[in-house]
Symmetry: none
Subunit: 227 residues, 2 copies
DNA sequence: GGGTTTACTTAACAATTTAATAACCTAATG
DNA sequence: CATTAGGTTATTAAATTGTTAAGTAAACCC
């Protein structure tokens, strides 16, 4: 499952800047579009709803502050990241830009690499937690789905397949209550028919093996991981 | 609807820096805690689970990079913002910090105002993510249906299923009066037949467990949530 | 392949938690 | 001050989960 590339709009009146940033962002896999002034930035933003907009502050027609303020007043761009770029490195502009709703403020001269890693950091933060198979690490408990390994305080615990899958499901969304139905369909699949007691028994075995109380029963509802 | 103050942990080995940042953040309404080295930072982070951690890179025991890496490997701190502070303004450190999972990177000399507005921008951005679902947050009372969790002043209260559902129903439309019929059909369903006394008993249990008077009786009409 | 081990499921029962009701008490209302 | 709705408590019933043991199927290993 591959996601569509993230769209980034660059608004700057200096062609050189656009070109160099554009080059680096494209190379990094973003879908890049450009604007040469504030008005064009707003037009293109409406047209393409980019995921992120880089706004130079000093632009013709409408400056970056104005564009930022406009976008922020529009619910359509709630989730759009705004990064302000500027040669003015004064504190007041910096604060003003953030207060108008900017997500980041980068002073020129801009290092493309730094800009890229800042944008990545912002995207990483707002990206909904992807459901990829990843190692779960909660306090001293490590659950590695690639190796089917569970360790607590560096001691390895051998969980059976179903036990492991159940634990992993719950721990992946720690705190959230899983209904028995959800557990059944996630761990056992929708066509397999097993009784409710089966879940209990597996929960019991996990609790017994790990020796810690990490799965909480929510009576009448389901189970949740809580540690 | 007032939320609990956001917790920020400042980790720096220079007392002057701690003091000045601490002063500004406290004044801005944050709940500030401090650490003098990397190990202390990790300890306090585990203890208090702050919403944001400011990490100086050059610290004794464990440097900011190490602390950042450690925190990011631990699911407990998934949602914790990490801001790296440093005197080193080189590009490599900057990128390294962000790649290790830092959310922002601020070079010294730090302007407290700029730092504050950057932190605010970060919080503003993640706020909708964390509080978007159906979590009810009234003053110091939090009711999270996904977790079947009720907390008052950060203390967890265990409500039974019906109690929770009743409380959630009322709190979801705080202030509005619910007729007994409405409550019955929403919480118990239309086909179940239970007496009026049953509602009373559940209301009583909620009031007793939470220890606060958050459900008001409207005699002859019904109940409303009022807190 | 025969024997052994391991994991999974189920059934039966125990333990616990939760829900509902009755009966009585209290407070509000007119 | 009588009436009535709601509060309280205790008791009982019901629902839900925990536990153990045993049966079955699959995997493993000479």
């Amino acid at each position: 499952m591959e996601a569509a590339p993230l769209k980034i709009l660059i608004a700057d009146d200096e062609p050189d800047i656009i070109e160099i940033i554009s080059f680096h962002l494209t190379k990094a896999g973003f879908n890049v579009m450009t604007a040469r002034d504030g008005s064009e930035a707003i037009e293109k933003a409406k047209l393409f709803t980019p995921d992120c907009i880089l706004l130079d502050i000093m632009m013709p027609k409408r400056n970056g502050f104005e564009v930022c303020e406009y976008l922020r007043s529009n619910k359509q761009f709630d989730k759009t990241l705004i990064v302000l770029l500027t040669a003015m490195n004064d504190e007041a502009s910096h604060i003003k830009g953030l207060e108008l709703g900017g997500d980041d403020f980068v002073s020129k001269p801009i290092s493309p690499k730094v800009l890229l890693s800042r944008i990545s950091a912002l995207f990483r933060r707002i990206q909904p937690t992807s459901g990829e198979s990843k190692i779960i690490n909660i306090k001293d408990l490590v659950i590695d789905p690639a190796q089917y390994r569970t360790t607590l305080k560096d001691i390895n615990f051998v969980l059976a397949k179903k036990e492991f899958e159940l634990l992993y499901l719950l721990a992946a969304q720690s705190g959230r209550v899983f209904l028995r139905n959800e557990i059944l369909s996630q761990v056992w699949g929708n066509d397999v028919i097993v009784g409710d007691r089966t879940i209990d028994v597996h929960v019991r075995k996990i609790r017994a093996k790990l020796g810690i109380d990490c799965i909480t029963t929510v009576k009448g509802v389901g189970y949740k991981f809580d540690y």
